[in-house]
């Protein structure tokens, strides 16, 4: 059986694309580089939108990347059930694309924040979190400038009541996110946006932990079983 193929999109200014590809590989799938200017998802089984500063984040973070030709392919595919994970800048692009609700504002302290962040996984029913136990606490790096998750009250209430908050910050809220929200999912559970970087916690040599690997093994397991 050939391994699952997980696409990693490179936008101009993507930075953690190689790292996402490495995490996919370590989890046992084949990473497939996808170029923002193409109109071709190359038949991948899932897609990761990596971290970085697409187009320099000179406008709102993710606001220009959302108009990339490849996004015109990705959005309908995601609505049709393609698993999609947006990490950091990828999360911002997913919000700008309206695949996820809410928005990411500049961090409350107005500083870039890089730290090893404790999180709690609150939803293990998504395509990307099935390998975790509900309530499991993990440590994963966070590093961003615009990480403050915000949404209107109705949206927040909806996210909370339907259990669509995937991960929450513990100990310290590093960016002022409402409800300590670190990540959310769409109604179907196939699209997940996450501000922390699980792809930087997949090897004990280079990460604070290997706690982030579960996001990638979750999708591999799902694709293999599909």
């Amino acid at each position: 059986m050939s391994p699952a193929r997980v696409g990693v999109i490179t936008f101009p200014g993507s930075l953690d694309d190689r790292d996402a590809a490495r995490a996919v590989r370590i989890a046992g799938a084949e990473p497939v580089p996808l170029w923002h200017a193409d109109h071709d998802l190359q038949g991948v089984d899932a897609v990761v939108l990596p971290g970085g500063f697409s187009y320099g984040d000179y406008l709102r973070a993710g606001a220009i990347a959302r108009f990339a030709p490849l996004m015109a392919e990705l959005v309908p595919a995601a609505h049709a059930g393609l698993p999609v994970l947006g990490i950091c800048n990828g999360f911002q692009v997913l919000c700008e694309s309206h695949l996820l609700p809410g928005a990411l504002l500049p961090n409350a302290g107005l500083h870039f924040v890089c730290r090893d962040q404790r999180l709690r996984i609150d939803n293990v029913a998504t395509a990307w979190t099935s390998e975790y136990a509900k309530g499991q606490e993990v440590v994963v790096p966070i590093k961003n400038m615009d990480g403050c998750f915000t949404a209107d009250a109705a949206t927040l209430a909806e996210l909370e009541s339907s259990g669509r908050v995937v991960a929450r910050y513990l100990d310290v809220n590093p960016n002022g996110s409402l409800g300590d929200i670190a990540g959310i999912t769409n109604e179907a559970g196939n699209v997940v946006g996450l501000m922390p970087h699980p792809e930087h916690a997949v090897e004990s040599l280079t990460g604070p932990t290997t706690d982030g690997l579960g996001f990638f093994t979750s999708i591999v397991k799902r694709l293999v079983n599909a």
Binding site: P12, G13, L15, D16, R18, D19, R22, A37, G51, G52, F53, Y55, G56, D57, Y58, H111, F112, V113, C114, R115, P141, K143, M145, H197, E199, H200, E203, L205, T206, G207
Partner: protein
């Protein structure tokens, strides 16, 4: 002046007065240009010579001294590219090579801290790209005025944001460096940025334009009015109050463009599309064209109208001097130009063919069809003036050296010792720098094995074999002020040791030499002594200098900064999985102090923090002991003897224990064999504290004996406090105990208080 000052105009108007003095040129320098050209220079030529012969570009005051790095270079076959190129290239084995270089951006960072520091990072990264390497990490060595001085917050906050804003957006992990506060830098901060790049041996690129008929392509950002005159005026003129009027002279960075340039260049290299390449930094197009031409076939024609402009009103002189960021110049064979431009288009990078390589030996530039530059490029790029400036020891030096810290009251009881440990741990220079480092991405690229506050930044180069590197950047202006020869050696010693305590074999050296005005004989003497000390020590330790940077005119009025040679040492890990961290994280490991402690307090953090005193002589240099310690560390780490290792430097054993305990979250029980004040706070060199894994104590003892490194058993790792006792005839007598929580509060609250 609307008419173009062409060569023919210059020939017709030989007596026309020219503003060479305003451009920083001396009378005799201007006369030499006239002799070289056989006529007066055009204003465009004057622009080129004035920037290329500035101190910043020509190293005219330092050259005679810097030759020692070549003359005294140790025998080695690890240098694939030596000094003189954009950056040196070092063979690290398995077909891999590393290029690394540090450069100052001091003056711009005072005028406009954010952009000054940001473009400092941008400039050094382009130096690394132009060698054919992928940049893989940055580091920075920063010096500011006193933490509580009124202007420090502005400069510190802006510089840190600038480094973070630029480096984070490039996707380069920031893996280490220094942050130092001292009144000497109050109106003259030091911002020294380092970049590391990795490449295969066969991928090295050089800055040369060979092959007549080959095309010269300028690509990257458009040329605007940024930093005009920056190279000759801003980077070299003494700082006075009116410097704020020069604000527009500081360049503005666009890290997004630079990120695209990195990826674009690497794709161009993969397809082997460039014959030669050079980044545009200080002196912009002037520097790139003269240096490329001088190092190639020798001639070049350039149409300045083909340079893409952001400001259409720029005059040719301004185009030549502009320091607009994120630009590169490549030499490409005509057949490959279409593919070159295609790749630039893929990355949405503007690129224009602006000229062609010739074999005429002349650099000729035209503007609307008229020749405005016609000169032999070597005369601008390499044959600038060279000065042997007068030098003599600074008049105050003898008194300074005579003022030994021996006169200062030392802590004499357990309470005073305990208070001093906390006082030092909370002092701005020794306090946690997390406020700074948390604003830098240390994870991106996924190869960071160790980053600050560890002794070195450690990177994995090869996923399969585990080949890795370690890099440390160190300086100590107080030591160098007391004795510049020793001060430079001590900076090298510390960087060398920092690399070795992680288990890496030290290989090669880079440097950034920050000094006052070379026209001050005292400063020039300090510079000459520091260079001599560094060259001698590199020879003794067998580590060649691969390149460096000199920054003069760091002074306020006539008061120079403390002479501050900042030294970077690169080491190699054959298997980076065997690296050792400074963290005390393994309960029950045995703590040993390696090396000999003498009571050395000249220039120490203790005298600085407690008394604000600087005097006496710095710690004795002992390169033989340093090499011995390194051999113990490299072998011991590789063999797996150590659970933790930390170098002893500023603040001595006291500070090393504090840092290792807090890093790992475990305390320790230490019994000092002699004078507790000297044991805790002396800054003797060639020392490290190691935590030995159970069962390996004998192996370590044997290793140290073989190397001739003294060993002192200190105690054990464990518990949740730092416990210090004194060995007496009656056994160990407890001196004091500090809970980790109390240490943590002292250590971590200082910087946020001043900077936050």
């Amino acid at each position: 002046m609307s008419q173009v000052d062409s060569v023919s105009v210059a020939l017709q108007t030989p007596g026309q007065p020219q503003p060479y003095k305003e451009l920083g040129m001396q009378d005799d320098e201007y006369q030499r240009v006239r002799e070289i050209l056989g006529r007066r220079p055009t204003s465009a030529e004057l622009a080129i010579y004035s920037v290329m012969w500035s101190e910043h570009c020509s190293y005219k005051s330092s050259k005679v001294h810097l030759r020692q790095f070549a003359d005294k270079a140790p025998q080695t076959d690890i240098l694939l590219v030596g000094m003189g190129e954009n950056a040196g290239v070092v063979d690290v084995g398995q077909g891999w090579a590393v290029t690394f270089k540090v450069e100052s951006h001091n003056h711009p960072s005072y005028v406009e801290p954010y952009q000054g520091a940001a473009t400092g990072v941008g400039g050094i990264v382009r130096d690394i790209i132009s060698m054919g390497a992928r940049p893989v990490a940055v580091m920075d060595s920063l010096r500011f005025g006193p933490a509580d001085a009124p202007d420090t917050r502005r400069v510190l906050d802006g510089v840190v944001r600038g480094i973070g804003g630029y480096g984070n957006s490039l996707g380069l992990p920031n893996i280490g460096g220094e942050v130092v506060f001292d009144k000497s830098y109050a109106a003259n901060p030091l911002v020294n940025a380092l970049c590391i790049g990795v490449l295969r041996h066969e991928d090295i690129k050089l800055a040369a334009a060979p092959g007549p008929g080959n095309k010269v392509i300028l690509f990257g950002a458009g040329t605007g009015p940024d930093g005009i005159g920056g190279a000759s005026v801003l980077a070299s003129a003494t700082f006075e109050e009116e410097s704020h009027k020069k604000r527009p002279a500081v360049q503005v960075g666009d890290p997004f463009m630079e990120k695209l340039l990195i990826e674009c260049c690497l794709e161009l290299y993969r397809e082997d599309l460039v014959v030669g390449i050079q980044d545009l930094g200080a002196a912009g197009v002037s520097c790139a064209t003269t240096e490329l031409a001088a190092a190639g076939t020798g001639g070049m024609i350039v149409d300045l109208n083909a340079v893409p402009l952001r400001d259409a009103t720029l005059r040719p002189e301004e185009i030549l001097m502009s320091e607009s960021q994120e630009r590169m110049m490549a030499v490409v064979t005509p057949a490959l130009v279409p593919r070159f431009l295609e790749i630039c288009a893929k990355w949405e990078i503007p690129a224009s063919v602006i000229g062609e390589v010739t074999d005429t030996g002349r650099l000729i530039m035209t503007w609307h069809g008229e020749v405005i530059v016609d000169l032999p490029p070597r005369t601008a790029a390499h044959d600038g003036p060279v000065y042997s400036r007068p030098m003599s020891p600074p008049p105050e030096l003898a008194a300074l050296q005579a003022d030994s810290p021996g006169r200062l009251h030392r802590p004499s009881n357990a309470d005073e010792l305990r208070r001093t440990v906390l006082w030092l741990a909370a002092s701005p220079n020794l306090a946690s720098k997390e406020w700074v480092t948390s604003q830098y991405d240390r994870y991106v690229l996924g190869n960071t094995v160790l980053a600050m506050p560890e002794d070195s930044g450690v990177l994995r180069l090869d996923d399969e074999t585990g080949l890795g590197i370690a890099l440390s950047l160190d300086g100590n202006g107080r030591y160098a002020k007391l004795e510049p020869y020793a001060g430079a050696q001590l900076a090298l010693s510390e960087a060398y040791r920092n690399v070795a305590v992680t288990g890496a074999r030290p290989l090669a050296v880079t440097n950034c030499l920050n000094f006052g005005s070379p026209e001050d004989p005292g400063v020039m003497w300090e510079f000459a002594r520091a260079v001599e000390g560094l060259a001698d020590a590199c020879l003794a330790l067998g580590v060649p200098v691969t390149g460096g940077n000199v920054s003069f005119y760091n002074q306020t009025g006539s008061t120079p900064i403390n002479p501050t040679p900042v030294i970077g040492v690169l080491g190699v890990h054959d298997d980076v999985r065997r690296r050792v961290s400074m963290a005390f994280a393994a309960e029950g490991t045995t703590l040993l102090l390696l090396g000999e402690t003498r009571g050395e307090f000249g220039g120490s953090e203790w005298a600085h923090v407690v008394y604000g005193q600087l005097g006496g002589l710095p710690p004795m240099v002992d390169l033989r002991a340093e090499a011995a310690l390194a051999s113990v560390m490299v072998t011991g780490c590789y063999e797996g003897f150590f659970a933790a290792a930390h170098d002893l430097s500023d603040g001595g054993l006291s500070q090393a224990l504090v840092e290792s305990c807090l890093r790992g979250g475990l305390g320790c029980q230490v019994t000092l064999p002699g004078d507790p004040f000297a044991m805790l706070f002396s800054e003797s060199v060639a020392r490290a504290v190691v935590a030995v894994r159970p069962g390996f104590e004998g192996h370590v003892a044997a290793l140290c004996e073989q190397a001739g490194t003294p060993v002192t058993r200190l105690g054990m790792v464990g518990g949740d406090s730092l416990n210090v006792a004194l060995q007496t005839a009656e056994g160990a007598q407890p001196l004091f105990s500090i809970p980790l929580q109390e240490l943590r509060e002292a250590h971590e609250q200082t910087l946020p208080r001043y900077a936050g």
